[in-house]
């Protein structure tokens, strides 16, 4: 029920509506809860409404933090021959 997805605004179709794309699927949704939506913005979509814009700068920051994690730990584990994931 909390199910929400990041979608890209590809067209503004009315004062409160926009067409968005998820992987090429296009749907019309409400943007009534968003301040200043623009084509190209990514928003979080839930039950037909955009709930927030995705902040691109913060997204970059998250990915940078992720990139910095675990590299050394992984090297240690590999060296020790320990398995840390479930076998497929």
């Amino acid at each position: 029920m909390c199910h929400a997805l990041p979608v890209k605004i590809i067209a503004l179709t009315g004062p409160d509506t926009a067409k968005v794309s998820l992987g090429g699927i296009v749907k019309e949704i409400s943007i009534a809860l968003i301040d200043d939506p623009k084509v190209g913005d990514y928003v979080v979509l839930h039950v037909g409404y955009a709930l927030a814009k995705i902040d691109e700068a913060e997204a970059e920051r998250t990915l940078a933090l992720l990139a910095a994690e675990g590299g050394e730990a992984l090297a240690e584990f590999s060296a020790a021959g320990e398995a840390i994931e479930a076998p497929p």
Binding site: M1, C2, H3, A4, L5, P6, K8, L22, G23, I29, S30, A32, L33, I34, D35, Y42, V44, H46, V47, G48, Y49, L51, A52, I54, D55, E56, E58, A59, R61, T62, L63, L65, L66, A67, E69, G70, G71, A73, L74, E76, F77, I84, E85, A86
Partner: protein
Amino acid sequence: MKHLDEYRDAETAHRLAAAIHNEAADSGRRYRLMEFCGGHTHAIFRYGIEDLLPSNIEMVHGPGCPVCVLPTGRLDMAIRLAKRDGVILASYADMLRVPGSKGQSLMKVRADGADIRMVYSTLDAVKLAEANPQREVIFFAIGFETTTPPTALAIETAAKKGLTNFSVFCNHVLTPSAIAAILEAPAVRELGTVEIDGFLGPAHVSVVIGSQPYEFFAEEYRKPVAISGFEPIDILQSILMLVRQLNEGRAEVENQYIRAVTRDGNVRAKQAVSRVFELRRDFEWRGLGHIPYSALRLKDEFAAFDAERRFDEPYIPSEGIKACECPAILRGAKKPTDCRLFGRACTPETPLGSCMVSSEGACAAYYTYGRMREPAQ
């Protein structure tokens, strides 16, 4: 798909798992982390995230599934409303198969002739009312704070359009109240049988309410909170953040989902909700009992759109099936496999309790994705 694929990346998962092992596996303590939101429970099982964690980290499944916590008596009201002459009941798909009292469900009464329509959005419900002026359209509203603003907007839209045949059966509930109930439940405070060391905060509830409301819990109860995005990488990163907080003796609110959650949340959405709704003094939750100021109802000025005032349907509390452990499972006190009915009489095909019928319920998630972990029944 941008902002999605990056958070499902295998290599990143591998590194995060290594970091978690590095910092938790040999610390000599247990980490019992509650993921509040049913969507997180679903993701944990669907991706097999627990396989990447050391054995001293345990995920405790919380009550953040609005389908699961709706008491049977409220569902029975919806069923009775749906059976009334001239009514079209519009509902999200999630509620259609939940068993009410006497073996009824919305899907079963639809087979008997009640007009029940599945909608994906509250706007569809308003459109139904416009298209069927001779019928009474009732929208069965459920959900935490993520889902409440869409209901508020639908009511305001209906009011603006002057619709006289649209109403909402409101069962919206509040997350902080549920977290407080879990932390204050006797089982936690006194008996200590449900130890929770930290919380994975819900992703999209927090998009609406912001990170600020959780600060109280971190301060008052000394439990760290990491507000987590929905994807497996988000969940792993949040678990790492909680492990670090616990290792360092911190109890703060950290926001892993910074790309969508701010401290204040979505002000427009919160304003829409406060225009239309007010707090109920009391509301019964399945599994958590009566919690004061934990749910919403429509304000007096929107009384015409309040199905409870428009139609005189009493609330008749209903006991669930005696052997059903949903209440304890929702509090995190028991696991699905602790329930006698799990996997036997109670399966997704024949659900006896709400935890099994909702795809975000712990029992459904465990059965659908994880039951190979138990010895064969």
